[in-house]
Amino acid sequence: MNPLEMLKKDWKTKNYEQDYLNSTQLGMLLHKRSSNIVKWLFIIGIAEFAFWNLLRFLMPEDYLSIYESLHIQNAMLAFDIFNTLVLIFFLWMFYKNYRAISVFDNTLMLMKKILKTRRTIKIYVIYNLSVIALGLIVVNIFLYFDQTVLISYLEKNSGKINDPEKFIKMYFIAELVIGVLMILLLGLFYRLIYGILLKKLNQNYRELKKLAS
């Protein structure tokens, strides 16, 4: 017999009777907690929206006084409004993509929709990282050209500074190093989370996509 016909015949006789559950047991299964990729994606997505917005509340209040001394508080307020609009846009996109995920779609479509939901969060994270980087650069440029503001702010918080010139130099270098390090670390963190979560899905998606064309 053709080995594949033989296989087919055997496959048809396969039954897993000893693993069968009765309807009561099956009913219990339905109400147990499930953990799947889409659920995790949703949880992590919401956690990220929360994280980036909590970050703004955690800023020390007198930090705003620096903006005032630099006369950029209006620009900062305008940016805050813009940022909130961006947040609403991303939340809406995220929700829309998430709702579109259907286990009844064909496999390729389902994978596409899951990855699209993930991409929304990815772009949001990249947006936030860029905003931080840009903000860091802009504020530091202003501070660089108006160093007295910086010195008086720092002296107010931590006492007299002896060698302002040397201190300022160290300050900018430290700011740069810490800023770059933070962004790299956050980027790595996201890669890790999504890398672990979506490894299998990405692999299957690539393989299936090849067969679709």
Partner: protein, 178 residues
């Protein structure tokens, strides 16, 4: 096809007034199919139970949108494979069992013929080593689905499904005649 969106609320079918008992009865009668998919995609008991549960949950969630549409089993194939390929991630770390044993433990059911049994063992072992996507194709082939159905279910072109399946068949045959 109806507009079947993923519902995050697992009580959604209840809210839509769908009888859980009725669903459970149909699921109970057709569960062998789900067990088959699970045996294909996992290599130990814990992972198998895990995937089995996830598929049941997904079937229940989407049951509301299935009603009146296509055959129950066709819909089950779709949801079960989609869950295994796209939604399910977890493979339990500790392996209590050496995978393949599970897959071939049913061999006793076939009439005893040493060469045939040995060949089947080799074939199942080869299937178990295939990629997730290839496994899905083999599964649908073994379940007698035609290429049109396979291509619709997976979202790939019919030609490519055929070409790929032929390649897998050839690969499986070479396992027997290396």
């Amino acid at each position: 096809m109806q507009n079947a969106t993923y519902k995050c609320n697992k009580f959604y079918p209840i809210l839509k007034g769908i009888d859980e008992q009725e669903f459970l009865k149909i699921l109970e009668a057709n569960q062998n199919l789900v067990h088959k998919v699970c045996s294909l995609y996992t290599s130990d008991r814990a992972s198998r139970q895990d995937l089995f549960q996830e598929i049941c949950v997904q079937l229940w969630k989407s049951y509301a949108n299935f009603r009146g549409d296509s055959k129950f089993t066709t819909w089950m194939y779709r949801v079960a494979l989609n869950t295994a390929l796209s939604l399910h991630r977890k493979e339990k770390k500790f392996k209590q069992n050496t995978g393949i044993d599970f897959f071939i433990e049913k061999l006793e059911a076939t009439p005893y013929d040493p060469t045939e049994a040995e060949q089947l063992k080799l074939l199942y072992k080869a299937i178990h080593e295939l990629s997730d996507i290839d496994k899905a194709l083999v599964f649908l082939y073994l379940e007698d689905k035609n290429y049109k159905e396979i291509s619709e279910m997976m979202g790939i072109s019919e030609v490519n499904a055929r070409v790929k399946m032929n390649r897998i068949k050839k690969k499986l045959k070479t396992v027997l005649n290396p």
